[in-house]
Symmetry: C2
Subunit: 221 residues, 2 copies
DNA sequence: GCGTAAGGCTACCCGCGAGTAGGTAGGCGG
DNA sequence: CCGCCTACCTACTCGCGGGTAGCCTTACGC
């Protein structure tokens, strides 16, 4: 009985700090994406990472810090992916098209990153929600710039049926929602997804430019 | 000092159960919408409701039960509001228009309901997320039915640039996103919001029917 | 070889908040 | 006017999980 053999000391091999940090962040993103910030426990993250809890605290700080690190890393990845997809000297519609394709490629490849950024980041009150909202706002403004530049170039001014900001907000929401939908339909390619949105938005937009406006066909209420 | 007078017994008046349940649900929706499911505490809910904690457990059960009750009540409200806004014997585009207006009226009037349904309900793992997802799926299918009915009526078949399901997912996402945007812009009326979406979607859709399709203007990658 | 620092762990603390036990008060039937 | 049922409260328990104190152990420099 004294022969305990609790574990033949399957002690993790000693690895450089940078590698461990990567492992921990990967595990954290995975767990956060599955359970959300609050329901995720540090114990589970440490288990998935194959590392004990104090390591996390030594390397990445508190739970909130850890989550922040995840958010920032994944946000940077996403931003870079989209940035690399865009060809800045093309006309606005082609820029939007390439941006959308890059976005959908990213979402397909890094589902967990997308889940954490889109669904979980809002649930942590305060600082992170603000950070994410900011990033989203920047995305909306980026799109709005494209839309407005195309609009004014074509002579579309201020009119009741048109609002660059509102339209962009709607477009970004549509893109996100379609991303979620695409997660359940992996057979639909990024090109097709981007085409759907372009056809939705850009064609309707062109109609507006030409004064072809949808109106309710009867009294207002 | 023996004159304690801790509270002059500002004991709540005895009220019928139904009334208390309403108060508790109202308080719960408010608190959940502010803090989210996990960060909301039963103590705070009871305080806001003006009732002690055991009451909540006697009347509405556990925290999860309580949240479920909130979700169901608000979802029913929303559904009814939209249902009542729709006039079923109008053409598809007018149905969509009226549905959207009713939706934005609801969001403006019951911000907290919307917040709970849209942002918080997903963060509770398992049953509720599924419930909400179901409701959202039904909404998408409803919209898809309108779109497809209009599409087939006009002779639009299966083509690469068209997918009723995908398009509807995008539209619902756009509507939700625009709802969030509208919360920060209360001066924009529900009619205007609905018009924006109609102009986005319906006009682009009509173009598709007429074979006017957006295509990338150069090689595929 | 041998000191020492960096990688790693086990085993604990402790506060917060979900949930409850047990008691009090007010109204209504008799 | 008296009991008793129901609305209602104060004051607790207790487990979960974030965070830490303190120790071990391997590799590398000299």
């Amino acid at each position: 009985m004294s022969e305990e053999v609790p574990r033949p000391a399957e002690r993790a091999k000693r690895l450089p700090r940078a590698v461990r940090e990567r492992q921990i962040l990967d595990a954290a993103v995975s767990v956060f994406s599955r359970y959300g910030y609050h329901s995720a426990s540090m114990d589970e993250i440490s288990e998935v990472a194959g590392v004990s809890k104090p390591m996390i605290y030594t390397y990445l700080g508190s739970k909130e810090d850890l989550f922040g690190a995840c958010i920032r890393r994944e946000a940077t990845r996403l931003l870079e992916a989209v940035q690399n997809g865009i060809k800045p000297d093309l006309p606005p519609d082609m820029q939007l098209w390439h941006g959308l394709r890059a976005f959908y490629r990213f979402v397909a490849e890094y589902r967990e990153s997308w889940t954490v950024l889109h669904r979980q980041a809002m649930t942590v009150g305060g600082a992170f929600a603000a950070e994410i909202t900011d990033m989203r706002t920047r995305a909306i403004e980026l799109v709005a710039a494209l839309v407005v530049s195309a609009g004014t170039r074509k002579g579309l001014g201020e009119q009741a049926e048109f609002s660059g900001a509102g339209l962009s907000a709607a477009l970004v929401g549509a893109a996100e929602s379609l991303a979620d939908w695409a997660l359940d339909h992996p057979d639909v390619s990024d090109g097709v997804l981007a085409s759907w949105l372009m056809n939705l938005v850009w064609l309707g937009f062109n109609d507006l430019v030409e004064g072809d406006v949808w109106k309710p066909s009867e009294s207002d209420d």
